[in-house]
Symmetry: C2
Subunit: 910 residues, 2 copies
């Protein structure tokens, strides 16, 4: 068995495909070497050896590795023309772990291995840089002590860091670089004493001991509790093991002819095809990103743009801040060739690390470059046009969730950089916004009439706040999760929302909000980022990202591949139009109850609820009929030519009734009823578990007149629109069906009323009657229900609540802990639980189709806009998904990707 | 096709097996005739003709029947030696419907068919009883008008009844029998006018028209909306159809040598093998049961007992109230032979109707006799011993639900007869009790200390009332269903409870209860019947039924046949002992939370809940540990040799915290905390849907120290008992598991703590760790969970709530209507829903056994004591059912019956 794969000088034994055996890092190093990119030579010990280490132990593995390791070392020595352990001019090595997936909790890196009390002098001598040499030795002892010997002090902290800090204070210097050679020599001695004190052993003076120690530490770190735990919750097999790469050190900090840098093959922010990056002269890699010194631009173009932005004249730029293109033109050209080669080889944007040691260029790492949503779209579509990648690859390059960035305003990046968040809540509804604090939903209007931006701040929201929520620019709550009332409603409205910011202390009485010692009053400015959950003090201006041509091209491409259609959840003509703008092919969920909350309607609704008998209810409903009808007309008009699924009244009636005495008094007066009666009705309507109470089709069953009115409003609206030349496809949806009897009964009422309207008008239209599948029992008897239903729409929010027995309003007490501890891989209200809820979905589809082969099936729960859930919907054979209008583009791409993954195995594990 | 089956004179063409074709009544008449019992001759038109009527219509059917009907009529005429339609001595007929199942909404009976204006005189003449003849004619017109012609007046009422009442008033008589012949003649005329007025036709003077009209009315009544509806909700096929029996009339009201009577072959109250019954001389059948005249006893023995009870001397009895045995010894002997023949033929107690017309005995009907629970047991076991029936039949003769009557006190029947219920609530927990009204649970103790009987009367109960409920003798609530807190707790305690008595108006402030205009104060006496739901004013003494030898024999027999074991749900040593007394073979559910509600524990529990950190909780738990341990010790001792399944803490923590300010203040003081903190914690613990909230193993997962304490208490208790020589089999049950992670985590905590205790004690015991299956998701992933669990116990209460999405606390708003309208066949909280919930149960068992073949599986929800649900549990292959101790005998019989039904097809449709 081959245990070690060498690389360097173009002689790599491995390649980029061998990630299982060599880990991600080792495989990429081998690949770079194979295609002629200069990488410091080295060798990678395979993941199989890690498994041997777990079963056989250190001694056996050391023996098994011995010959190949020696050969590898000789290979490195030959290329670098230095010997490991040589005291006059030592070869130094790095040891790094590299599993197939990057993993916190694993030992990462030990640098500068090979230095000893003797060879440190040789290195100082040979390089002529004593400070460089002693600093390297100091680092080695610190890293080795921390990482290999696991040294901690009595308080569980790193004693080296503390000592270093104390020492800097003692010497009155701020940065390590200001320490003298003598200081560093003294620190080395102190560090060696610390090693002895805490590890009980001397720092090893045998370079080979150092390298073996580091290798074995990597293997041992595979099985630390933290690593095991991480694998468990991420479903990574314990058998994978980690590889270890041992590589020659190169130095960017060996004087003016040495630099360290990082670079991107394209612009990671805009996606523009522009090579760009930063570098520092006489510096180590970490200095470039640490921000202690200002790094310089690699290209002249980038350098000039930077100077422009910073207000620096060309003359000064050229002198003090030259680009690498100017400072080291040859090496720059070499680097430029390398980056082009890498991008066309890996066929994606590369994020490079390089070092120039005394004018020689070395590539230390290449990996796929992270990018913004905007860049992601542009790069994918441009690479497609350049012929670098094919359509499927272009589509798969898009992370659907990231499209969200393009669909909502974001904070001005410049101002954002200077702002520190007050606290972080849950990113409940994306987008960024800024406004004045208002605590009472009813007062939003006053602020808005002064044309102010408003952020509604509440402990939690309820149906009473709907109007205020709709008027405000953003919503912030102290309680409630990602699927709380505030979150769900805000997403539906496409409005920025941060929910569950638990540290906020809100007093409605004082009209104050306190957080971490600061108190804010009504009218104070704050800013919310609903995409990150961050809350900022003061005003931060926002910018609206532009949707370029590439976005439209991408969407068209996605639709070419997707099998499922994407619809929008929309309750108003406005949001229906947003859905259409984002490419929705119909409405999958139009909630009729939101219509009842509007100002002049809520009283009529309350009158209906307060009525003692069917007759009173019917009178109140007759008043509501024309309003509902005109709502539906507007929606049908907006969705001309597309189907509109309208759900009959769903929430329990108590949601429409105020529970505060003050409001009850107003209501009693308005509807002309005694306060006692209002109180008693409110009391009677209260439920212990409203989620499982008198709602959905249970209302329509006990009060058939409600269903009758709604069916009439829908059918009349459809006929009216048809007369105007609009193509209408109404789909009437029964909510919360759990028994065949409910479905049969509700359908009968709808059909009878429709026929009545047709007879009155002497005109017909086609329409469907179907049901939500959101109660577990409905999934279990889907075969029966399908005989009565034209379509199924999975309400996965409620289905998740009932299948888990989790109230989404209350699960905040344990669900975050469940996700954190890996009891659940994800919040099942965000990502559909395939094991449990998904099983019911599959069962219902199978049973439904067995009864009625062509039954139309979709999803209208929140999951309909979440990419992994969309994939699952595709796999189960659904016909469509429906989601918030603002997530339609995400769902379209996810639907296309689901098709591609199904047919192209190699995309699945990406 | 043969459409008509004749019977009479031993020449019956049908027999008792032909219920499908001849209906229940027709088949039994044929069977009696076959075995030589004298029945008035007649013929039965088959159910197939009913189907022909539905498709072909009246005319066709009349033609199809014509020849056979004529032949049938001739057959009757020959035997009775009278002619139908003869004006001088007319043969009269009855027409009755008879479907396979008796069915409300069907036309029942028309008697005296064949009388006309002419023949009524003939009958009067021939019989010499003008009043008898005219009264018969009056009845015929009335029945024919109501039943065949469907006559109703303007108010939808029966105009004949009204006329009769008016006429009696006019004549100043109280009873019909006091009317003269002239009165009756006048009434006949009035009735004929009414017929003309409301039906638009004359009362038919053609006897054949009368008989055809009645036959067709029976067929037509098969398809009335009420009958269709009844069949729909009882799952009876519309295709069955009804048969029609046409039979010669015989009369018990033709003078002193004629009698009508009813009889039972054994005593229906006690089960004693004693022929008994009542008769009246010169009377019609309905007079015997109507109670206008006092009926006489059939046997001398019965007559003497009756006289004894009524305080009548033998001399007077013999003179004024002779038995049939004395009055008509020959006919009595004939009747006695008939009853013996019938019982041994039908092999069950028979309920007979007979008529002696001028010394000739006729049997009009025989059917299986209804009986009390006590009689049911005695009769089944005695018939078994007599060799009349076999063991399986004896077991199948027992209606398990009826055993309940034997296990609880009942009201003294004599006193009960004279009491009228105030109102009726739900029969939530069986038994009868009487006591003084107390409204506040805390005050029950004061009354009890005076040794008073107490009935706790509440709007609804909560955990706070537990102590008071336990002390009181009965519980009455105005709200809440069969599975409300009051109902569930009362059943567990074996305490009489009537719940949801909606018309009660309870004022805690005034300490009054009003119902239908009467007001009762604290301390007033009321009486409750938890088996019927009836509530009475005042004191009604109760008697405790005696469990005879037959009961024990029956139970032993049941255990011989049953495959499943029966366990009891018991939380205390006392109820564990009741379980053992009733034959429980272990405890299937011991709820640990009830232990925390006891007086001196609740504060410690609250301290635990109020603690800010794990340490505080652990301290409070350490105080609770010895108490829990001693609870468990008592239970293990009571269940010596049997397994005890102990469920870890299940309810949400807010159930332990008071929400009323007053009580919060007491609590703050007692546990030494600020009121503000108590209020805040209570507020934080509130849940919107507590049923789906932070409870069950979600508590044990976020607060592992609770699980740890409980595991320790169980294991320590078990070791302590073992040391005393008790055989202990603890089974530790994790509640509300929905994910594999919860099960794994909780099991690990339990096992670790157990091992710790074993190490401390240097002693081990065997124990199991299993889980409730009560969340739908647990059923869906039962294969995974089974790998970690030693047993499954189905918590079908919660499983029903979540599968339907019904909160049992709130479903009262629609569930009764659902059952009434046939949307659900039964309340799924009472009878397990096989279609939905049952599907999950079956799935979980299959998946569980696939993973772990020998996993032990049972049920501990309320359904475990409901016979049809027990049958289902058997069918799914469960190992045991567990139920309230008082329902253990019911479950034992149901478990045996399930086995018998499985193997003996003919018992299934009984």
């Amino acid at each position: 068995m081959k245990r070690i794969y060498k690389f360097g000088n173009g002689q790599a034994e491995g390649n980029g495909q061998m990630k299982d055996l060599l880990g991600g890092k080792g495989a990429n190093l081998a690949e770079m070497d194979r295609i002629g990119i200069p990488v410091p030579p080295g060798f990678t010990i395979t993941t199989e050896v890690c498994r041997e280490y777990q079963t056989e132990g250190e001694e056996v593995v050391r023996n098994l590795l011995h010959d190949e390791a020696l050969e590898g070392l000789r290979f490195i020595q030959k290329i670098m023309d230095k010997d490991f352990g040589n005291v006059d001019d030592p070869l130094l090595l790095s040891v790094r772990s590299g599993a197939k997936f990057s993993m916190p909790g694993m030992m990462d890196t030990v640098l500068d291995i090979g230095l000893t009390d003797q060879s440190v002098a040789g290195l100082a001598n040979k390089s002529g840089k004593a400070k460089f040499a002693w600093d390297a030795y100091r680092r080695l002892i610190q890293m080795y002590g921390g990482v290999v010997l696991k040294i901690e002090d009595e308080e569980g902290e790193n004693p080296f860091e503390k000592e270093l800090e104390k020492y800097r204070d003692l010497k009155g210097v701020k940065y390590d670089k200001d320490l003298t050679v003598d200081d560093l020599i003294e620190l080395v001695n102190l560090f060696k004493l610390l090693t002895k004190k805490y590890a009980g052993v001397e720092f090893p003076q045998d370079p080979k001991e150092q390298v073996w120690g580091a290798i074995m530490a990597v293997f041992a770190s595979w099985n630390t509790p933290r690593a095991i735990y991480y694998r468990e919750i991420n479903h990574i097999s314990n058998d994978l093991g980690t590889a270890v790469s041992v590589q020659a050190m190169v130095f960017g900090n060996m004087g003016d002819h040495s630099v360290s840098g990082v670079a991107f093959t394209r612009n990671a922010a805009t996606g523009e095809n522009d090579f760009n990056g930063e570098y520092l002269v006489d510096a180590q890699g970490e200095d470039v990103v640490a921000g202690i010194r200002t790094p310089l631009q690699i290209t002249i173009k980038g350098s000039k743009q930077w100077a422009d932005f910073a207000g620096i004249q060309e003359e000064e730029r050229n002198r003090a801040f030259p680009s690498l293109e100017e400072y080291m033109p040859d090496q720059y050209n070499q680097l430029n060739e390398v980056q082009m080669k890498l991008e066309s080889h890996f066929k994606d944007v590369q994020d490079l690390e390089f070092t120039i040691q005394e004018e020689k260029l070395w590539l230390l790492q290449t990996r796929t470059g992270k990018r913004t949503g905007e860049a992601m779209v542009r790069i994918a579509m441009e690479m497609l046009k350049e012929g670098m990648i094919d359509e499927k690859t272009a589509l798969m390059r898009v992370e659907p969730e990231k499209l969200d960035e393009l669909l909502h305003p974001v904070f001005d990046p410049g101002v954002l950089k200077m702002s520190k968040p007050l606290t972080v809540g849950l990113p409940a509804s994306p987008g960024a916004t800024t406004g004045r604090i208002v605590f009472n939903a009813d007062e939003v209007e006053n602020f808005k009439s002064d044309d102010e931006q408003v952020i509604l701040v509440r402990i939690e929201t309820s149906a009473d706040d709907l109007r205020g929520m709709n008027l405000s620019d953003g919503i912030l709550t102290a309680r409630g999760g990602m699927t709380s009332h505030a979150a769900v409603v805000a997403r539906g409205m496409g409005k920025c929302c941060v929910s569950g910011a638990g540290v906020l202390n809100i007093s409605y009485k004082e009209k104050t909000m306190s957080v971490n010692g600061n108190t804010y009053n009504e009218g104070d400015w704050i800013s919310l980022d609903g995409s990150t959950g961050k809350i900022y003090e003061g005003k931060i201006p926002t910018v609206q990202p532009e949707l370029g041509n590439e976005f439209d091209e991408l969407m068209a491409l996605a639709d070419n591949y997707a099998r499922m259609k994407v619809r929008a959840n929309a309750d108003t003509p406005e949001s229906a139009r947003v859905g259409i703008m984002y490419g929705a092919r119909g409405i999958g969920l139009c909630r009729t109850e939101h219509m009842f909350f509007e100002e002049n309607r809520i009283m009529k609704m309350r009158k209906m609820i307060m009525a003692d008998a069917q007759e009173g209810r019917e009178n109140a409903l007759a008043d509501l009929l024309p309003m509902q009808r005109s709502d539906f007309e507007g929606i049908f008009e907006a969705m001309n030519g597309y189907p509109v699924t309208i759900r009959l009244l769903d929430p329990p009636l108590h949601e429409f009734i105020p529970f505060e005495e003050e409001e009850q008094r107003v209501m009693a007066k308005e509807i002309g009823m005694t306060m006692e009666k209002v109180k008693r009705t409110a009391e009677n309507l209260k439920e212990i578990n409203p989620m499982l109470g008198h709602r959905g089709c249970r209302l329509g069953t006990t009060y058939p007149e409600i269903t009758r009115m709604q069916a009439r409003a829908i059918i009349e609206a459809a006929l009216n629109e048809k007369a105007k030349g609009i193509s209408v496809y109404p789909e009437i949806m029964i909510p919360l069906t759990g028994t065949l009897g409910e479905m049969k009964g509700q359908k009968e009422i709808v059909v009878n009323e429709a026929e009545k309207v047709f007879a009155e008008r002497n005109e017909r239209i086609d329409y469907l009657v179907g049901t939500m599948i959101e109660v577990p029992r409905a999934a279990l008897i889907a075969d029966q229900i399908a005989r009565e239903a034209d379509f199924f729409s999975f309400g996965t929010n409620d289905l998740t609540q009932m299948t888990f027995g989790f109230s989404r309003d209350d699960a905040g007490k344990f669900l975050p802990e469940y996700v954190m501890n890996g009891i659940l891989p994800e919040d099942p209200f965000q990502v559909l639980d395939r094991e449990g809820v998904g099983q019911l979905v599959e069962m219902a589809i199978e049973k439904g189709r067995n009864s009625k082969q062509d039954i139309h099936i979709g999803i209208c729960g929140e999951h309909g806009g979440e990419p992994s859930s969309v994939e699952f919907c595709h796999q189960t054979g659904m016909d469509y998904v429906s989601c918030s209008p603002f997530r339609v583009p995400i769902a379209r791409v996810a639907a296309a990707q689901a098709v591609i993954k199904e047919t192209e195995e190699h995309f699945v594990d990406k």
